[in-house]
């Protein structure tokens, strides 16, 4: 017997239904290498419990109050293996297939659970999955994010996209400006751009996405460049390509 099999996998079970958690706990009882350290009834609890316990494995329901399973994954990062649990969600299932993420279908059976656990144990730990890509793949075509989730320590903030003024790329992060505050999130600006409705948000610059409704006017700046002046007075640089995108969008709207 190898060492790994003796170490217990500290596991978090996240589902908003009592019975669904119960059935998982019961089935996991047959696996001595699993230790359920906490159960969470929604995504917020899960993010908190994750920060507190640093579990080795998560069982995540997809549809939950407050935060979905995808939101949770986005917030906790991708180092910990996650097994999604869902009843029936064709888009989510497709996303799991595409990104080779483990998932269980309700009702959960013990054989299927055993094989999922086997895979988790066999998987090299460096496997990293991009949560935002997974969430994007689970969105039906033509649907865009309605809100953005940001974690600040253990505090989770939900920003409805209508309240996002602009986003600024900062190395591996994006700073989301909303209601006078800036929230840092680990995400590339390109994947944020893909999640936002292109009729409402424009990439005006390599490092900036702006909410079209916030733009008061465009002013020339220097010889060839321009700045977008927001209603709040903030000025953002506009690249030449960004200006072209802005113009086509404004033409489409009028």
């Amino acid at each position: 017997m190898s060492k790994a099999e003796h170490r217990k996998l500290r596991t978090l079970v996240v589902d908003d239904e009592d019975l669904a958690r119960q059935v998982l706990r019961e089935l996991l009882g047959a696996h001595p290498e699993i230790e359920v350290i906490a159960e969470c009834r929604n995504g917020l609890e899960a993010v908190k419990a994750f920060a507190e316990h640093k579990p080795d494995l998560l069982f995540l329901d997809v549809q939950m109050p407050k935060l979905t399973g995808f939101d949770v994954l986005e917030l906790i990062g991708a180092e910990t293996p996650v097994i999604f649990v869902t009843a029936y969600d064709e888009y989510a299932m497709k996303a799991f297939e595409v990104h080779a993420v483990d998932y269980l279908l309700k009702p959960v059976g013990k054989e299927r659970l055993a094989s999922a656990l086997q895979r988790v144990k066999a998987r090299p730990p460096e496997k990293v999955l991009a949560a935002s890509e997974l969430a994007a793949a689970a969105r039906p075509a033509g649907q865009f994010a309605e809100r953005l989730v940001v974690k600040d320590g253990t505090r989770v903030t939900l920003i409805p996209v209508g309240k996002l003024d602009f986003a600024e790329a900062q190395d591996d992060y994006v700073a989301l400006a909303s209601e006078g505050k800036k929230h840092l999130k680990q995400q590339t600006i390109a994947s944020l751009e893909a999640a936002l409705d292109p009729r409402l948000f424009v990439r005006i610059h390599r490092s900036y996405i702006v909410n079209l409704e916030r733009v008061a006017r465009i002013e020339p700046y220097g010889k060839e460049s321009r700045v977008a002046v927001l209603a709040s007075g903030i000025k953002l640089p506009v690249s030449r390509a960004g200006y072209a995108r802005l113009q086509t969008l404004l033409e489409e709207r009028s």
Binding site: A20, K66, P107, R147
Partner: protein, 358 residues
């Protein structure tokens, strides 16, 4: 009166082929030659350009036909309209013909054509009226064919819409998410509470039996729909426990009203999946029904969390309910939704119908 456009159907298109001048010329040229005192050459040189300029007659005839469709006005009123139109158009044709004849008479060989033509101008009226009558007849036939085609298309369209609605209704009844979640609950209950697991199985079986049975009927008493909703909520209650709360206020008189089968079930399902399921501490669904002034008013209201992640199938159930109401009652029924920050409300009003009156 013909000016009242009561028909909602699109007016038929008036079409005149450009080559229609050829048959007109075939009638006009020999008429000019045989009936009048005009030579073959003059008849040809005058008749062909005149035929080319005569296409406004069949065109105008088409519009007159459209203006006065067959079978709507009394025959003499229709006939009078056509007679006036035919004379007027022929007069116009003649007005065009006179300068032509004069121009041609400048050619030495055709000298005096204008004077001859002035004598024989009645031939223009004669041929004009023939052209007009034939065109009108053609247009009436074409319009009748058009109308028949439209009716056929409409029939196909309606039957397709009806089948579509039926299929969607069927799919809405058995939402896979609901089914799989219920099975998961049963699977959890088997080991902790066998009796409740059995109870849940029975509830689910009853629910499925009722929905399948209802699919065949178009309308059912409201009380039957309520019985189904109770089963549905009892099943969801097992899943959500204390999180799902329900209040209802159903007027006795409303229970006997007939409503389309499974009209409310999708709304209750929405209330659970978009409302209750999105709230960590759950919420209340309120159902209300009353009869007032011959109309049945139904309200489904639920708590919700407007920060909640949006669920899929959003609006499918609602759209389905709306189109079923429209299909059955037309403008007699209305459906309204109000979304406040923490409540969602669907209210509908439909004619109160009872089994006895039908």
């Amino acid at each position: 009166m013909a000016t009242v456009m009561a028909e909602r159907r699109k007016a038929p298109a008036v079409r005149v082929p450009k080559l229609a001048w050829i048959p007109i010329a075939i009638v006009l040229v020999p008429s000019l030659f045989t009936l009048g005192h005009i030579s073959w050459l003059s008849a040809l040189l005058l008749g062909i350009p005149l035929s080319l300029f005569s296409l406004f007659i069949p065109l105008a005839a088409g519009y007159v036909c459209r203006f006065s469709p067959s079978g709507r006005d009394r025959w003499w009123s229709s006939a009078l309209t056509h007679l006036v139109a035919a004379l007027l158009l022929s007069f116009l044709w003649r007005l065009i013909a006179t300068p032509f004849a004069r121009a041609l008479s400048f050619i030495p060989q055709l000298y005096g054509l204008d004077k001859q033509f002035a004598q024989d101008a009645w031939i223009i009226y004669f041929v004009g009226c023939i052209v007009y009558s034939l065109s009108a007849a053609f247009h009436y036939v074409a319009f009748a064919q058009d109308a028949a085609r439209q009716v056929e298309l409409k029939a196909v369209e309606t039957s397709m819409l009806a089948r579509d609605a039926e299929l969607r209704a069927l799919r809405a009844q058995i939402n896979p998410h609901f089914l799989f979640n219920s099975l998961n609950s049963i699977s959890a209950l088997t080991s902790v509470d066998g009796a409740r697991a059995r109870e849940m199985c029975l509830l689910l079986a009853d629910f499925l039996r009722l929905t399948l049975g209802m699919g065949e009927k178009s309308v059912i008493p409201f009380s039957e729909e309520l019985a189904l909703l109770e089963k549905f909520l009892a099943i969801e209650k097992v899943r959500f426990g204390e999180r799902l709360r329900m209040t209802e206020s159903i007027e006795e008189g409303a229970r006997q009203c007939l409503i389309p089968a499974l009209l409310l079930q999708p709304l209750l399902e929405n209330a659970v999946s978009h409302g209750i399921a999105s709230m960590a501490d759950g919420g209340t669904i309120h159902l209300e029904a009353r009869v007032q002034a011959g109309r049945l008013g139904i309200v489904v209201e639920n708590d919700r969390d407007d920060e909640a992640p949006s669920r899929r199938r959003n609006g499918v159930g609602l759209k389905n309910v709306r189109s079923r109401l429209e299909a059955r009652y037309g403008r007699e029924a209305s459906l309204r939704t109000e979304a406040a920050e923490d409540r969602f409300r669907v209210s509908m009003s439909l004619p109160a119908e009872y089994a006895e009156t039908r």
